[in-house]
Every structure is written in structure tokens, then in C-alpha cells.
């Protein structure tokens, strides 16, 4: 250990000189290509779905490209930062995300599309702190659970309690907005952290039971908004009210199905042009892919996302320190959950929840958060060797 440190210390100058280059070599290029492809496809889909109504027909797509550019810069910046250094900043990131969520509840918060989750920045820009909260919670949980107990490879009990506390705090603030989809993502992040960190199975089962009871209570004591219950009922049987809550799922299924094998071609989707599916540039953007690119195109999107997830898991596996593995693993679970729920709701196998499709949907904060997470993965990738 000492030797290495000394060697490192001795070669620190040289390392800095060639480090950038050698780090470049270690970047996960496959994942970056997949993410880039998803972003390009997403841009086309946003364009197709907004060109009939957006200001100047390219107004939103321009904004989307700008978001992507900012997101790419953030991604690059995060990549450069050593993730182990980030471990030190995790509490700060978490606190900042809590502050963001808190601000939403204050008069600074704004309601867009029925959910009170925004802070207006002026100039037509707005941020959604709950997207950053995903990162904040993820980092703090990874930090807490990365430290194994004495003579064990499981996290310490106190750390687990702290992690759960942080999760409940964040989820509570998000529920106040209310944003069920993000709450679920946060729950998934927490669960993923606990599972990957090696928490005992009986703990996990206990927690799952508690979560189950919690969900039951939420339903039973009417803590959900009526529209959320309705969405769920409509998911179970879209024919209940095809003009009302079942409308979204019916229409998105029609749009995707009518794309058939090869799709109708970019800009040629009649359902898209007619805006039969609501929110089709954000939450329902996958319907545009389904209609205009057909089965082959939408399968490509699924596979590209799959590539990102699988490469992410590879990074988690290869990483030699617990923190990196935890961060990478939870990021993959988060993105996988969002992918599954988002695509699933458009093809009728999941209830409708307001979650964007990673890298594809329009939406600044979500794009930033997603690309930052890619930056985190890359950062872990290029520094996977443990120097502990």
C-alpha cells in the first residue's frame, strides 16, 4: 500500500500529464455511443412531436438541444471529478437537494402540468429539484452504505438507519408536491442501495413488508389524489373509461401499434401529428418512436437503453471500491426502473405514472440528472482500480 502511494506520489506529475489521455482510453465508449444515439433519437422525436405546435415549429427542439449541450458539459465535468472525492461531497449534494425540494414548497415553487415540482428561474427556464434529489439521495445512500461494519462485508446498522431516514425525508418532501412517480424512483434507489450493499435478506424482506403496508395505508386512508387512483384503475382495465383516464393508455397503445414493423416514417405519424397522445414529447415520447419508427425503431431504443444499463452494471462489477459499485448499481436500477415504467405504461403493461424516458424525453432537469449520472458512471469507470 505504502509503495503504491509513494509511487503515485512520485509519479504524480507524470500521471497528470498522461492521465487525461489514459483516462480517455478507459472511458466506456460503448455506453457513450449508446447514450449519444438515444439523445439523437430523442431530439428527432421531440422535433416530430412538437413541430406542429411549438413556437416557430423548432422552438422546443432547440431548447432540447440546448439542454443536451448543458447536460453533456455537466456529464464531462462529473466525469473529470474523482468519484471518491465525490463521496466527500455527498452530504453537501444531499443537503442541496433537500433545500431544492424545500424551496418548491415555498412561494418560489410553481405548478406546471398539474404537478407542483418546479422552481422558475426566469427567461422561460425552470428546474425540477426532484430530479436532482434522485442524485442527492443516491449519493448519500451510497456514502452511508459503502462503509462496511467491523469484520463484515455488510453495512452497519446505524448507517442503514441513516440511509432509510434520508430516503424517507426526501420521499416525504417529494410526496408533498405530490409526485408519485419520483417517489417510486426514490424508493427504488433506496432499495437498490440496500440490496447491493449487502444488507441482510431478512432486513430487506422486512422493509419490503413495511413498504407494502405503507402502500396499503396510502390507498386505504385516501392519501392518493383521486386521479392517481383512477390511473391505476384505468391501468387494470382501460375500457372502464376510454374517453377519460383510460384515454391515455388506449391512445398510446394505438399510436405504437399502428407503427407496425417498419413505422410510418419520421414526421409521418398521423397519431403523433394529431396529438392524440397527451404529453407525447415528454412522458409519452416512446409512442412517437413506436409510431414513426415501428417495431424495429422502438426495439432499437429499448436495446440502446439496455446497452446503457448493462454497461452500467459492468462498471459496477468492475469497480473495486464499494462506493463506486454502489453508485453505479443504484444508477442502473434507477434508469432501469424509469425505462421499464415509462415504456411499460405506453404499451399497457404498467400504470400511468409521470416519469420521463431517460435520455429521450424532453425536459431539462431530467436530462441534466440523467447525463450527470452517466458522468458518474464514467468517472467510476476510469478510476475503477481501488487504491485503498
Amino acid at each position: 500500500m505504502m509503495d503504491r502511494t509513494l509511487m503515485g506520489g512520485r509519479r504524480s506529475f507524470a500521471r497528470r500529464a498522461v492521465g487525461a489521455q489514459s483516462a480517455m482510453w478507459r472511458l466506456d465508449g460503448v455506453m457513450l455511443v449508446a447514450v449519444a444515439a438515444l439523445c439523437v433519437i430523442g431530439t428527432l422525436l421531440v422535433w416530430s412531436s412538437t413541430r406542429t405546435w411549438a413556437p416557430g415549429s423548432t422552438g422546443l427542439v432547440k431548447k432540447h438541444v440546448l439542454n443536451l449541450a448543458i447536460g453533456t458539459l455537466l456529464c464531462a465535468a462529473v466525469t473529470v471529478i474523482d468519484h471518491r472525492a465525490m463521496r466527500a461531497y455527498a452530504p453537501l449534494a444531499f443537503l442541496l437537494s433537500l433545500v431544492g425540494l424545500g424551496l418548491v414548497i415555498t412561494p418560489l415553487g410553481a405548478t406546471i402540468n398539474g404537478s407542483h415540482s418546479w422552481i422558475l428561474l426566469g427567461g422561460g427556464f425552470a428546474v425540477q429539484p426532484s430530479e436532482f434529489a434522485k442524485l442527492g439521495l443516491l449519493l448519500i445512500i451510497a456514502m452511508l452504505l459503502a462503509q462496511p461494519g467491523e469484520g463484515s462485508d455488510r453495512p452497519r446498522g446505524l448507517d442503514v438507519w441513516l440511509a432509510l431516514f434520508a430516503a424517507l425525508l426526501t420521499m416525504g418532501l417529494v410526496m408533498l408536491q405530490p409526485d408519485l412517480g419520483t417517489t417510486l424512483v426514490l424508493a427504488v434507489i433506496t432499495a437498490a442501495g440496500l440490496v447491493i450493499a449487502g444488507v441482510r435478506k431478512r432486513w430487506i424482506i422486512l422493509l419490503a413488508l413495511i413498504a407494502g403496508v405503507g402502500v396499503f395505508c396510502v390507498f386505504a386512508f385516501g392519501m392518493l389524489e383521486p386521479y392517481q387512483v383512477a390511473r391505476f384503475t384505468a391501468f387494470l382495465d382501460p375500457r372502464v373509461d376510454p374517453r377519460g383516464v383510460g384515454y391515455n393508455s388506449t391512445q398510446s397503445l394505438i399510436a405504437i401499434g399502428s407503427g407496425q414493423l417498419f413505422g410510418k416514417g419520421l414526421f409521418d405519424g398521423g397519431q403523433t401529428t394529431g396529438r392524440f397522445v397527451p404529453e407525447q414529447h415528454t412522458d409519452f415520447i416512446f409512442t412517437v418512436a413506436g409510431e414513426e419508427f415501428g417495431f424495429l425503431g422502438s426495439l432499437t431504443v429499448v436495446l440502446l437503453l439496455g446497452v446503457v444499463l448493462v454497461r452500467g452494471l459492468r462498471i459496477a462489477r468492475l469497480c473495486e471500491d464499494r462506493f463506486g459499485t454502489l453508485v453505479a448499481g443504484t444508477i442502473v436500477c434507477w434508469l432501469a426502473f424509469q425505462t421499464f415504467v415509462n415504456i411499460g405504461m405506453t404499451i399497457g403493461i404498467m400504470p400511468i405514472t409521470g416519469l420521463p424516458l431517460p435520455f429521450v424525453s424532453y425536459g431539462g432537469t431530467a436530462t441534466f440528472a440523467n447525463l450527470i449520472s452517466i458522468g458518474l458512471l464514467q468517472s467510476i469507470r476510469i478510476r475503477e482500480q481501488s487504491f485503498n
Binding site: G198, S258, Q260, G274, S298, L313, I347
Partner: protein, 762 residues
């Protein structure tokens, strides 16, 4: 770290599983169910607007419209749907009032069903059908409603083509009418079927019915792409409607008018007359130049749907059942006009053409005396004079002789039945096959018919023979009827001597339609060929291109040599100058146009005589055959012949008017119709195609009453059968009633001195 790695592997499996689930589900949705969802996508994304085709016009032989179009856009409200909406659909009505420029209050009133305390403007029809609130919407209003259906639930706008009749009542029964198509009829049609809305029309009678396929054209389709708000964002598919073809008929509108007027005058002059018909044919070709029937009605009553009351009125006795064309469905004994057939029968039975025949005042037929008109004997004469003077006894004797030859009351195995068979060869007893629906057959009472008739009526007759007629007040009449019933019960299956005598002069059970008589005369005075008359001459595309000529089929040949034909024609040519019609034609310029013809006066029990005149002109080379029949019109010479004279005067311009046909003959060339729909040449049409919003009466709730069965009460079995055979027509009860009146008591007129079948001088 090992534990973490293991759990990561588990995670990897889960992620792969999730991806597999998504991929499989995508395959199922996009590839397996793709086609189904494409259909559903098309349904949600598009609005199909049927663009009705313009129905073809019906033109006369010079291209003058007999029926033309006016289209109007009708906006209707589905009230039942509306009242289920929030606030009972008031917000929708508010939007509609902006589009139509009518106050909401007024719209509400118009869709409220009439009732106690609810006064006009209220809705008189069924509350379950769309209620028209605007009959003259413009295209912009209609499109606003059609293309934004989401904003106008329950509101529809449809183009209705309203038929317009420049000739008013003229030829109403012949032209026919349109009624809403039934779903069954629509299912049979090819092409666009989405059109069923209850306002698609189909020809229900007359030429509109027969030539429906050609006149109707093909509806077009405009599929508009809409967004989820129902706003039109483009036209996805457009199939232009194909206008229906115009039907050029051989009818001459002016001759038609003349015929209608002549009938009107004739009915005015014969106060008891209850119906009349006139047929004008071109003998060489078999084309119909005019076909008139009285009483008439204004076919405009059908436009925009007829009310139930209006329809019942058309069927009622009070109006004389104007839907029934007497020319096709009026079955009457032809009287002396039938003698052309009887003369032919004599020739075929071997009587010499140039022989001399005795015309006594009466002849004995069996044990009864059959009298000439007024019982006057006219001495010896040839057949020529027999026709001119309308001697009955010569024909009685011949008919009776042939009956005896066939075995009389004990018929031979294969009786020749010369008289009946000749009449059939003249086309009597079966429909002429004219291009109009529901034509009657008439009746030739041969031995077979008697048997069949008896099979059906013997039951009633035998019962009546026992019970008598207690409901008849007149005792002697009741006694007579009972005797008759007994006679019919016992031997009603036999063709009796009196039947054969009556038959020979077109009396008794013989029934012909005016059209049958006209085409028999047309064959007689032209080439001897029996034709199936045609009104349709050609179908022509709207741009004037000929689609097809309608041929007149030859369906038979008169059993006469050319010499015999000319002999009979020559005899008939003397009737209006020297014979029974001389009075009616006194003063007629016979030196310019010689008229040939035959009068007929047929007795109807309990009613006035049926007045007939069958004629042709010019006698030397006829261009016209005119047959006039006036039911209860009295003598042929006093009612029908003057009406025919009036028609001839009109055609040739002998009255004060200009000649209807200056050439003195029917139009022989199809009119040339130019691309804009007007008729080429110097003749100005009475009006080109009228387009644009037109008047259409509010649609009433009684569509579908296209063919309600009329009461069958009072009809004899035979008549009922006839009615069923005629099938398509429902409104023939009028003449049916007349016929039934006679056939029901058919026996009464024959063989008794009191009711004897003598013919009043023809």
C-alpha cells in the same frame, strides 16, 4: 465485495428480464396486433365525410328537364343524445347558435317536441330522429360542424338533394319519387356504405326506381385528418363523387302537358269520372311520348320527406289515389276498342277478309238474345263497315260459333280458344314490360282462367247460395245475387256461351290497361310487331357523353298478314270521319292530318261506362298512337275521343297554340347535351341545372313508410293475388277497387237480360 458482485449479477438478470419483457410486448403490440391498431388509429384520426353524388336528371326527348336537382345542406340535432350531455347540451347549442346565427332560444324551441302548451316552432316529428334546425346551411357552416365533431356532439350536417319538378304534376306517377333508403337496400349496394344515415334516398317508383342505379351515381368520400380536438389538419383521402347519369326519355314534355290537360278537361266534362289515362306512343319504335294519369299530385310532396298524413292522403279514396297510374294499373274492360283483336280472331278462325256479314239487331247466344247497340240491325256489311259502325252482333255470333266449335259447355280436350289466344297474341293478359315498376297484367278470361277462378271462389259462392244476402236491402237484388251464387257454385268453372259473346266485344271479364291497348294499336298500325314500350331512351353522362341507348325490345308479332293489317287500319281510319267518332272529330282538319281510331264504351255494373278511344295519326303513316281512357267517363265518343282530339290538335298545332311537335312527328334524334349540362341547339331549356341551396321542406318523421300495405279488405282473391304479383307497388288499390267491384259480382253482368252484356254503341 463478493456479496455485492453476486447481487449485481442478480440485478443483471432482472434488467435483462425487464428488457426482454419490453421487447416481447412491443412485438405483440406492433407486429401481432399492428393491423388491428392501424384500423383503430385510422378511426380515431380521421373523419369520413360522404360527399353525395348529384343524382342524374330525367330529361324529355328534347333535353328539357322533367326532374332536376336542388341540393341543400341540412343541419340536424340529435335531441336524445343532446339531453344526456352536461347542462342538457346547452353549451353545444350555444356553439351551434354561433355557427348558424340563430338565437339559442330558437334552437331550443325547434328541437322541443310539440305538445300541449308547446307551440311552433316546435318539432312535430319523432323525438328520436335528428331534428333539422337549418335547412339551408351554407358549406362553411356545414364544414365547421362536420370537421369539429368533438365540439358539436349530436349535431350533423348532411347534403340532401331535393328533386324538383319543372312540370309540376305532369307525369308524376311515371317519374316516381325518392324515399330514404333502408338499411337492407344499402347493404346490397356496392361501394361506399358508410353513408347510411337515413337521409340517403333511393328511387321508389316510376323511372326513379327503374333507373335508380344509373341516376344515383357514386358517392364520394372526403377523409379529413383531425387532431385530438377534432380540428381538421389535412385531407387524407379524397374520392370525388361521380355524378349520376342523366336519363333522356322519349317523353315530350309538351305532349305530356297536352295529355294531362286533355284528361283534366275530359274529367271536368264527365262529372262522374274518377280517373283517366292517356298513352301516346310512337308506333314504329314503341317509344312512349306521353303517359298521363288522372288524378295527379305534385311530386314535390316527397321532397325532404313526406309526412304520414301526406302519405295517407295520397293513398286515400278522397284524393282518388293519385299515386296509382291508371295507364299502367287501371284495368278496365276495353269495349269496342277490343274489336281489332276480335276481327283478327275471326280471320284466324277462317272467316274471309272480304266476306259479307249480316249485322242483325240481335243474335241468339245459347238461349239468350244479345243485342246490338239500341238493338238496331244494320243489314249486310263487310268487316270494314263492321268496324267503322261497330256492329256487335257479327262478333257475338263469331265468338259464340267458336265457343261451340270448342265444345261449348263440354269442351274438347284441347280447345282452340281462338278469341282468347288471339287476344294474348295482341299482348293482352300479360304486362307489356314497360320500364316502369308494378305494371298490371290485365286479364284474358279463357277456360283455364274460369277454372282457376272457380277454384278460389266456389267456397264463398256455395256458402252464399245457402245463406243468401241478408245484408242487401233490396230484396229482388238479394234474391238475384243468391241465384247467381248458386249458379257460380254449381258450374262456375265453365266458360259459358254468354262469356264468349261478351269477350268478342271486349266486355265481361276482359280487362286491359290503357298501355296494353296502346301498344297493340301501335303494332297494328305500324309493322305488326309487338314491342315492350320504353320511356327511357338513353342514359347520358353529365358532360353529355352517351352512356347507352335504351332499345325497345320486340316481344311478339300480331297474327295478321300485312294485307289484313292494312285492311283493319284502313277501316279504323274511317271511324273518326264516318264512324262512331265522327261527332267528336267534326271540324277537325282531316285533310291535313287524318286520324284513325276506335271508340269503346265498356259497361261497369253500378257505375258509369268506361270511355275509351284508341287512335293513331296520321292515318296513312302513323307517327302517333293515342289511347285515352276515362273511368266512369261515359261513351267513348263523347269523353275519350274529344280528349284524344285535343291531344292531336296540340301536337299538330290545330288549336290556337303553336304545334307541340312542329315536325308533326316525334323527335327522332337524341338531344345533344353540352358539357355544362345545357341542351345544345336553338331550343332553350326551361331552366338549366339548379344548384345551390334550395328549398326543402322540414324533414318529417315518417320516412320508411315507403310501402305500407294498403287495406286488402274488399278485394277479391284474384285481385289480391294480382296485387301481390305486382309486388313493388302498393298504391294500386284504387283501380283495384274498381276492378274488384266488378269481379266480385262478375257473374251479374253476363247472361242475364237485365244486366246483359250488350255494348253501347262504340
Amino acid at each position: 465485495m463478493i456479496r455485492m458482485r453476486t447481487r449485481l449479477v442478480v440485478l443483471q438478470v432482472i434488467v435483462m428480464g425487464v428488457l426482454a419483457v419490453l421487447s416481447l410486448r412491443l412485438w405483440q403490440v406492433q407486429v401481432v396486433r399492428g393491423q388491428e391498431l392501424v384500423t383503430r388509429a385510422t378511426e380515431t384520426r380521421t373523419r369520413s365525410v360522404i360527399v353525395p353524388a348529384v343524382r342524374g336528371q330525367i330529361l324529355d326527348s328534347s333535353g328539357r328537364p322533367l326532374v332536376r336537382n336542388q341540393t341543400s345542406l341540412v343541419v340536424s340535432v340529435d335531441r336524445t343524445g343532446l339531453i344526456r350531455m352536461p347542462e342538457q347540451g346547452v353549451p353545444v347549442l350555444r356553439k351551434l347558435s354561433e355557427v348558424l346565427g340563430q338565437p339559442v332560444k330558437q334552437l331550443q324551441k325547434r328541437i322541443t317536441p310539440c305538445g300541449p302548451g308547446v307551440t311552433k316552432p316546435c318539432w312535430t316529428g319523432s323525438p328520436y330522429q335528428p331534428i333539422p334546425v337549418e335547412e339551408r346551411a351554407d358549406t362553411r357552416q356545414a364544414l365547421q360542424i362536420l370537421e369539429r365533431q368533438e365540439e358539436f356532439p349530436g349535431i350533423s350536417a348532411e347534403i340532401q338533394s331535393v328533386r324538383q319538378y319543372p312540370g309540376g304534376k305532369a307525369g308524376a306517377q311515371m317519374l316516381g319519387y325518392l324515399q330514404p333508403v333502408t338499411e337492407a337496400e344499402l347493404a346490397k349496394r356496392e361501394g361506399l356504405k358508410a353513408a347510411f344515415s337515413g337521409v340517403d334516398l333511393v328511387g321508389r317508383d316510376g323511372l326513379e326506381y327503374i333507373y335508380d342505379d344509373e341516376l344515383r351515381g357514386k358517392a364520394g368520400l372526403r377523409r379529413v385528418q383531425v387532431d385530438r380536438m377534432g380540428k381538421a389538419i389535412g385531407v387524407e383521402e379524397q374520392v370525388a363523387p361521380v355524378s349520376g347519369d342523366n336519363l333522356v326519355t322519349s317523353i315530350d314534355a309538351r305532349v305530356q302537358d297536352l295529355a294531362e290537360q286533355a284528361l283534366q278537361h275530359a274529367m271536368k266534362n264527365a262529372p262522374k269520372a274518377d280517373g283517366a289515362a292517356a298513352v301516346v306512343l310512337e308506333p314504329g319504335t314503341g317509344r312512349v311520348i306521353a303517359l298521363a294519369s288522372m288524378p295527379g299530385y305534385d311530386p314535390a310532396v316527397w321532397a325532404g320527406g313526406i309526412s304520414d298524413r301526406g302519405y295517407q292522403r295520397l293513398l286515400s279514396d278522397a284524393t282518388g289515389k293519385p299515386l296509382v297510374s291508371r295507364a299502367l294499373n287501371g284495368m278496365f274492360a276495353p269495349g269496342s276498342t277490343f274489336k281489332v283483336s276480335s276481327v283478327t280472331s275471326m280471320l284466324r278462325a277462317g272467316y274471309p277478309l272480304n266476306g259479307t256479314y249480316d249485322c242483325p239487331g240481335a243474335v241468339m247466344v245459347g238461349d239468350r238474345a244479345f243485342h246490338n247497340f239500341h238493338g238496331i240491325g244494320l243489314g249486310s256489311m263487310n268487316l270494314h263497315t263492321a268496324l267503322v259502325k261497330s256492329c256487335d252482333t257479327i262478333f257475338y255470333r263469331a265468338g259464340y260459333d267458336q265457343w261451340l266449335k270448342d265444345g261449348g259447355l263440354n269442351p274438347k280436350k284441347a280447345p282452340k280458344e281462338v278469341f282468347a289466344n288471339t287476344a294474348k297474341a295482341f299482348g293482352f293478359g300479360k304486362p307489356t314490360g314497360i320500364d316502369l315498376p308494378g305494371e298490371s297484367s290485365g286479364r284474358i278470361p279463357d277456360r283455364t282462367w274460369k277454372k282457376n277462378m272457380w277454384a278460389q271462389t266456389s267456397g264463398t259462392s256455395c256458402r252464399r247460395a245457402k245463406t243468401g244476402y241478408p245484408e242487401v236491402a233490396d230484396k229482388s237484388r238479394a234474391e238475384f245475387l243468391k241465384r247467381l251464387a248458386n249458379e257460380n257454385c254449381l258450374e262456375g268453372f265453365l266458360l259459358r256461351a254468354g262469356d264468349s259473346a261478351n269477350f268478342s266485344i271486349g266486355q265481361g271479364d276482359v280487362l286491359v290497361t290503357p298501355l296494353q291497348l296502346a301498344r297493340a294499336y301501335a303494332a297494328l298500325v305500324s309493322d305488326g310487331k309487338l314491342r315492350s314500350p320504353r320511356i327511357g331512351w338513353a342514359t347520358v353522362r353529365p358532360d353529355g357523353a352517351l352512356v347507352r341507348r335504351i332499345d325497345v325490345p320486340v316481344v311478339g308479332k300480331l297474327p295478321l298478314s300485312k294485307k289484313e293489317r292494312l285492311y283493319i287500319k284502313d277501316a279504323l281510319s274511317d271511324v273518326p270521319s264516318d264512324g262512331t267518332a265522327a261527332g267528336a272529330f267534326s271540324g277537325f282538319p282531316m285533310n291535313k292530318v287524318r286520324i284513325g281510331g276506335k271508340t269503346g264504351t265498356a259497361e261497369v255494373w253500378g257505375k258509369e261506362d268506361t270511355s275509351w278511344f284508341a287512335s293513331f295519326a296520321p292515318a296513312e303513316a302513323p307517327h302517333f298512337v293515342v289511347v285515352v281512357m276515362v273511368s266512369q267517363g261515359g261513351m267513348g265518343a263523347s269523353t275519350a275521343a274529344p280528349a284524344a282530339r285535343e291531344i292531336y290538335e296540340g301536337i299538330f298545332g290545330f288549336a290556337k297554340n303553336k304545334p307541340a311537335l312542329p315536325a308533326g312527328r316525334p323527335v327522332s334524334k337524341l338531344p345533344k347535351i353540352s358539357a355544362d349540362g345545357t341542351v345544345a341547339g336553338d331550343r332553350t331549356t326551361d331552366g338549366a341545372v339548379a344548384d345551390g341551396p334550395g328549398t326543402s321542406g322540414p324533414e318529417t318523421g315518417d320516412e320508411g313508410k315507403s310501402g305500407p300495405a294498403t287495406g286488402d279488405e274488399g278485394r277479391s282473391g284474384a285481385e289480391k293475388r294480382g296485387a301481390e304479383k305486382r309486388g313493388a307497388r302498393s298504391g294500386d288499390a284504387g283501380t283495384g277497387g274498381t276492378v274488384a267491384g266488378r269481379t266480385g259480382e262478375g257473374g251479374t253482368s253476363k247472361g242475364t237480360k237485365k244486366e246483359g252484356g250488350t255494348e253501347a254503341g262504340g
